[in-house]
């Protein structure tokens, strides 16, 4: 899934307040009742990831309620960036998970709070959506001073088909029915209406590729024969006329051929 879906999930919770709430209840259901009333900023990230189908990208080691461990997850993936203005401007993207230290360090162990980047502002600050900001889900503005660091989860691109979509399309190609508008039907390689099965499709691809190589070899053989014929003709002319310069004649023929476009119809 996408960063867009992650942010959409977060926006749905704007204004959610108090605890326990649906975020802490969901986390507690899987991880224990002790989570019902504890700090829920990181549980919000977990909730939004699960609501938007982004568990693989945002929760690489599963549910997180503790900010430091979530930051370490990003660091373990090699995606961690320290919270500097330069890093924010260069690397932070909407959907990045951003961690704060109110003591102004960039140390992961010192992290106090977490949010989700909604926008990177031109001055190097970020506009976030944060759970448990004053015990509510709110939009905030944060500067590099309080940002310990951030990481961009490996979301799928919004304009890219998902891996499932690609797999489905490939499966359809190898198991569907041949329609009249496909190249293989126009070339009479497959019949319109023919049901494709993967083994047959792969065999046909292999056979056609093999046939292509055979055609290439045939073209090269014909060109070599043509070249030999021209050379023999030049030699014969030179034998009949001692004044004829066979090498010069061949050079002229080759120069002329350089300027000729030929369409070869092979195998018809």
């Amino acid at each position: 899934m996408t960063a867009k879906a992650m942010l959409a999930a977060a926006r749905k919770d704007l204004g959610l307040t108090g605890r326990p709430n649906r975020i802490t209840k969901d986390y507690a259901k899987r991880n224990g009742a002790e989570f019902l009333a504890v700090a829920w900023c990181q549980m919000s990230i977990t909730w939004w990831a699960r609501q938007s189908g982004n568990e693989d990208a945002v929760l690489p080691r599963g549910d997180r309620a503790y900010t430091v461990w979530s930051a370490e997850d990003g660091e373990a993936l090699g995606r961690w960036h320290a919270g500097t203005v330069a890093n924010i401007k260069k690397y932070a993207q909407p959907g990045a998970v951003v961690y704060f230290d109110w003591q102004y360090t960039d140390r992961i162990a010192a992290i106090d709070h977490v949010g989700l980047v909604e926008q990177v502002l031109p001055d190097g600050r970020v506009q976030t959506i944060e759970g448990n900001s004053g015990d509510a889900v709110k939009r905030r503005v944060r500067s590099a001073d309080v940002i310990a660091g951030f990481w961009n989860p490996d979301y799928e691109e919004d304009d890219m088909p998902s891996a499932k979509d690609i797999a489905d399309a490939v499966y359809e190609r190898f198991t569907g029915t041949v329609t009249g508008d496909v190249w293989a039907a126009r070339e009479k390689i497959l019949d319109v209406g023919q049901k494709i099965d993967p083994k047959t499709a792969l065999r046909q691809i292999w056979a056609y590729t093999k046939d292509g190589y055979a055609r290439d070899r045939e073209i090269l053989a014909r060109l070599a024969a043509q070249d030999a014929t021209i050379k023999a003709l030049a030699d014969a002319l030179a034998a009949r006329d001692s004044n004829l310069d066979a090498d010069s004649l061949l050079d002229r023929i080759r120069a002329e051929l350089e300027n000729v476009s030929i369409r070869l119809d092979v195998g018809k």
Binding site: V38, W102, R142, S143
Partner: protein
């Protein structure tokens, strides 16, 4: 002690530390310029983000 229990303890130590974050002086102006005035609950919502 399981990882979940440890995590709960660690999360508990952070209770309400979240409110201490310094507020950017122009935060309200920035959010207002992006999303319009806040709702009665002080939350900034964009168009179509009804409460």
């Amino acid at each position: 002690m399981s990882e979940q229990q440890t995590e709960a303890d660690l999360a508990r130590t952070h209770v309400d530390v979240h409110d201490w974050g310094p507020t950017e002086a122009d935060e309200e102006d920035v959010l207002k310029s992006l999303y319009g005035p806040p709702g009665a609950d002080g939350v900034y919502r964009g168009e179509g983000e009804s409460k």
